[in-house]
Symmetry: none
Subunit: 189 residues, 4 copies
Amino acid sequence: MARAKSPEKRQAILQAAAREIAASGLGASTAKIAKGADVAEGTLFTYFASKDELFNELYLELKGEVYRRINAEFPYKATLQVRARHVWTESLNWSIERPEERKASVQLGVSDVVTVATRERIGSQQRGAVEETLGEIAARGVFKDLPPGFAASAMGAMQDAVIDTVARKPRQKAVLVEKGFDAFWRMAK
Amino acid sequence: MARAKSPEKRQAILQAAAREIAASGLGASTAKIAKGADVAEGTLFTYFASKDELFNELYLELKGEVYRRINAEFPYKATLQVRARHVWTESLNWSIERPEERKASVQLGVSDVVTVATRERIGSQQRGAVEETLGEIAARGVFKDLPPGFAASAMGAMQDAVIDTVARKPRQKAVLVEKGFDAFWRMAK
Amino acid sequence: MARAKSPEKRQAILQAAAREIAASGLGASTAKIAKGADVAEGTLFTYFASKDELFNELYLELKGEVYRRINAEFPYKATLQVRARHVWTESLNWSIERPEERKASVQLGVSDVVTVATRERIGSQQRGAVEETLGEIAARGVFKDLPPGFAASAMGAMQDAVIDTVARKPRQKAVLVEKGFDAFWRMAK
Amino acid sequence: MARAKSPEKRQAILQAAAREIAASGLGASTAKIAKGADVAEGTLFTYFASKDELFNELYLELKGEVYRRINAEFPYKATLQVRARHVWTESLNWSIERPEERKASVQLGVSDVVTVATRERIGSQQRGAVEETLGEIAARGVFKDLPPGFAASAMGAMQDAVIDTVARKPRQKAVLVEKGFDAFWRMAK
DNA sequence: GATGAATGAGGTTTCATTCAT
DNA sequence: TATGAATGAAACCTCATTCAT
């Protein structure tokens, strides 16, 4: 049998793609990505049929990482506030700890290369606990007068605000994450 | 004497740029933008030295439009809540009424083509009333424990949440704008 | 006004394309064609939207050249045999005098890049006299028992035989052209 | 001991090559050919050292098929006309029955990938009876005033005319093959 | 100032061939 | 021998920018 496709190489390409997108936007060239992953230009295309497919897979990968992180050690039995804080903190920390991945994720998110199909594939697997938690929040506070989904959007939005501020005041990271949640929670209370 | 540069043409190019960015991202070609503005390819470069300059000017223009709209009929003498609601409503309506401009604005915002210098130039003109209002909000509620600037980020972020939701439920636009503000205001109260 | 598109450049590209196709087949690269025409790689695409379009236009051009040559000084009033010999001789001489053009024409003819639409466009202009002559031939000799179009195919085919033979015995060119027609004419008599 | 090379696989590759060339010209990729033959990409190169070698072998194979068909049941003792008609009919039927092989054969024939050496190798094996027959024809009718080889070219050329016409009028296949020969024979009589 | 032809670097993707398995 | 992943040169084409008109 011939050489097997190497998961490490696939991963290296995805990581390089995230790095390049963070550095130069969606215009990042496949040539640079390949070089960044230390593979030949052509090799990229044995792992991903096209640049678009690579970008869609990357988006999935990045979103998946966050969900995996949240689900690990999820406090299923705790109060809503504790669970909400867990979701908030874990996803926020991921964004702050991996700024390149986050930047790539945002760029992909607002662009048209990520298809609806890709967006729909996200989390149908283990979005479970997060969705359940957000669903409970949506039934409370101001959110109960607003369409379902708004609470989730609002949490994401408030996290963006925290991230932006952390970028300007990195020292206050811990406080921002905590107080940021308190701010968000005011809406849910 | 040579012909003078026409402000109409400049405007047409900026509008076409916004349209093209909304349609195909920052990869939008100068050729298409020029065609969209009904001018020759080369003409674009007599109004803007480079694609990057065009995009920076566009960003400024788009942000400026929002500020101009907020400042028109600004209720200087009203209570903070009334003023805040004005800011919220006017900027949000702009985004909802002009989806292409907003999409372009977001894409430019998350990209690196818009320089720090450009971002700093924003509103140094007439941001006045908005800044004053947001400053007052920043000193209240949860925001007073958070760095200055967080309140502004939070409002922008919450507006994004509203816009996303309006995109999915256009019928509820009016309610969303109003209740969205109520949600935001809970944090400031 | 800007520079006008130069017919000379267009012609140079077409000629270079014929040369390159003769030399290396339809795989001839646009880069080499451009270089052969002494224009930049990109320039080729301001004259022809794609390689395929260039090749289709070239096919048209080559076929057109032959028809133009035949129609010049066409002996409209002469006997059928004289007119047929005129068609035979002129088109054959074109092929023999311009071996590269002919080679390109043949390669294009048997390939799929030349579309049906292109083939249909040929000669609808001035194919006139040729068609009329071939039509008369088709009604005579062995051809009258065969479908219309067969006579034309047969003439072309017999010319190919002559060209092949001239390639091997260039000295006998004149005799081959003449006796070749006599051979063909035997079928029409 | 190592496995022996399988003649079936070799044959499958040649057939797939013919099919692919018919479908997409000489640009047909070795990868597609391999897939069409149901072997791995690399396997193709254990049977043929290069794409060019494969194409040369294919040309030989295709020409060989025709000769084999003609030689089977060749009426050695019959009159010249009967023998000539046999050559005509058998080779023509092969072309008509196997359009892909013929198309590939033509494309290869007009291209430069098939070397002179390959062309010379053809039929040195069993071209015997055909050559003898064509030799006799070359000494008769109009052909006796033309170089040797012209008769053969002429027969091939007239067959092309028949094939072209059959492609347009498939119903008349039988008549075209027969009357086509009559047309050709007029030149030899 | 306005135009759009001209440019050539750079983009994505394909491909013949090699070679580890 | 068979496989198909790996390679990087080269293919076609796009594009920001320049400049003759």
